[in-house]
Each structure stands twice: as structure tokens, then as C-alpha cells.
């Protein structure tokens, strides 16, 4: 119980828990847990309702069919799990700019943070869509089978992530 209320676990302990989640999920249902696909499933569902022509392509018909899939359930579970974890440790708070490091470096302007979040979110989903997965579904889910795609993806993520952070932080890097 004391462990559950801790604010932060060692990354090795938390990583072990997530590793066991992957093993259990693959063993029981054969599903590699991922986060990004769910957004595309739900996005496709919305597009289907509003602009049916938009989903009449190979991507939505064969790669990421619209619908409430198991990926959506995993994403829903992620929200609940993270919420319970934050509640237990007393970290849960409603905030508009949530990170002290961001405030220290970039100020506490709400629109600035939200704009970067919004654009960053679009880039994340778009990139994950092209690559065939995100950090969870591709980098870990593929990496554990030593799939080349996973390591190409991880390398690319750092190749562009480091200069982006460098540009944003400049001297404070």
C-alpha cells in the first residue's frame, strides 16, 4: 500500500511492471499494447460520421479501420490507470500549464503551452501513423521481437528530438 502511494517509482520497477503487461497481453490475447492507434480508430469513426468520403481509402479500410477496438480500450485503461495512480500519490491537480520546468524556461503563458501541445500532438499522431506505431506499439512492441522497424524508429525519434529540444532551449540546453 505504501508503495502504491509513492509519488515516483524507480524507472526499473515501473518498467518491470510494464514489461509484465506486455507479456500478459501477448500471452493471453496476442495483442501488442499500443497507444497511438486508438486515436486513429476513434478519429476514423468521427470522420465516418461527418465526412464518409474521407475514410474511403486504403489506410482506413485496411490499416486502421474505424471503430471501438481493443486499442481504444487500452487507451481508456491508460487514462483510468494513470488517474488512479496520480490520485493515490496525491499528485492529481487541474492545471492549465502543468510543468514547473516549462514555466521556468518559457513562462506561464497558457496559449503558448497549449499551442505547442496541440501542434506537438498532431505531429506525434501523424508521425506514428506513418511509422506504424508509437513508442509503445512500435518501439517497445516491435523492439521486443528485435524488429528492425522499432530500432529505426527509436533512432529517428532521437535524431529529430534532440535538435528540437536544442532549438527550444538554446542556451539553457
Amino acid at each position: 500500500m505504501k508503495l502504491l502511494k509513492q509519488k515516483e517509482w524507480s524507472p526499473y520497477l515501473a518498467g518491470t511492471l510494464l514489461g509484465l503487461v506486455y507479456v500478459t497481453s501477448i500471452a493471453v490475447t496476442g495483442i501488442i499494447p499500443g497507444a497511438s492507434g486508438a486515436f486513429e480508430n476513434v478519429g476514423g469513426l468521427i470522420a465516418q460520421a461527418l465526412y464518409p468520403d474521407l475514410v474511403k481509402n486504403t489506410y482506413f479500410q485496411f490499416v486502421m479501420p474505424p471503430g471501438i477496438t481493443t486499442a481504444v480500450m487500452i487507451l481508456l485503461g491508460i487514462f483510468i490507470g494513470a488517474f488512479v495512480s496520480a490520485k493515490l500519490s496525491g499528485e492529481f491537480k487541474w492545471q492549465r500549464v502543468s510543468d514547473s520546468q516549462w514555466t521556468r524556461v518559457f513562462g506561464n503563458s497558457v496559449w503558448k503551452r497549449w499551442l505547442v501541445l496541440f501542434i506537438g500532438g498532431i505531429l506525434l499522431e501523424f508521425g506514428a501513423g506513418i511509422a506504424g506505431g508509437c513508442t509503445s506499439g512500435l518501439a517497445i512492441g516491435g523492439g521486443l521481437f528485435l524488429a528492425p522497424s522499432a530500432f529505426v524508429f527509436i533512432a529517428a525519434m532521437f535524431i529529430s528530438g534532440i535538435p528540437t529540444a536544442l532549438l527550444m532551449y538554446r542556451r539553457k540546453f
Partner: protein, 93 residues
């Protein structure tokens, strides 16, 4: 139906582990690109190691079948990863 509920439970522990590792926080994610906090890497590689050993132990024992492994198409993985990295460093997801 079972798959749906089971996935929800798996997601629960997934989110729990991520939050406990502090990866819900912007600075944890972006600092791995600044090399000031390598928690993301420690977490990711521990997950990889545990999952590899677990899945292949069960596979060798004949208990599990291997699922579809994420496809490799170099240009896609590379370009997608490059776009993804920019978003990750900016948003901090």
C-alpha cells in the same frame, strides 16, 4: 468481449506504470533529449528486457504464439520517427 475487457485491464496497469515512472510529466520526456534525465530510456529498456525474456520464455515452452510483428518499411519508419520526435520533444507526451 473478453478481449475488450482484458485490454481495458491491461491499459489500466499500462497507465499506472507510466504515471508511477513520472512519464506523464513534460519535463521527464523532454529531458531525455537534453540528456539531463534518462528515466525514459531506463524505463523503456527495462520494459523491453522484461518483455523479451517473458515472451520468448513462454514461446520456447510452446505456451504462446508470436503475434504479427510491426512491419519494417525503412522510409516510413524513418520519416514517421523523425516527425514523431519533433512532436515528442515539443509536447512532452
Amino acid at each position: 468481449m473478453f478481449e475488450m475487457l482484458f485490454s481495458l485491464v491491461m491499459g489500466f496497469f499500462f497507465g499506472f506504470a507510466l504515471q508511477k515512472a513520472g512519464l506523464g510529466k513534460y519535463h521527464k520526456i523532454v529531458n531525455v533529449f537534453r540528456f539531463t534525465d534518462l528515466a525514459v530510456l531506463k524505463f523503456m529498456l527495462t520494459t523491453l528486457a522484461v518483455a523479451m525474456v517473458g515472451v520468448f520464455a513462454l514461446y520456447t515452452l510452446g505456451i504462446v504464439a508470436l503475434p504479427n510483428i510491426p512491419a519494417t518499411y525503412l522510409v516510413g519508419n524513418l520519416v514517421g520517427g523523425l516527425i514523431f520526435g519533433v512532436g515528442m520533444a515539443g509536447a512532452g507526451f
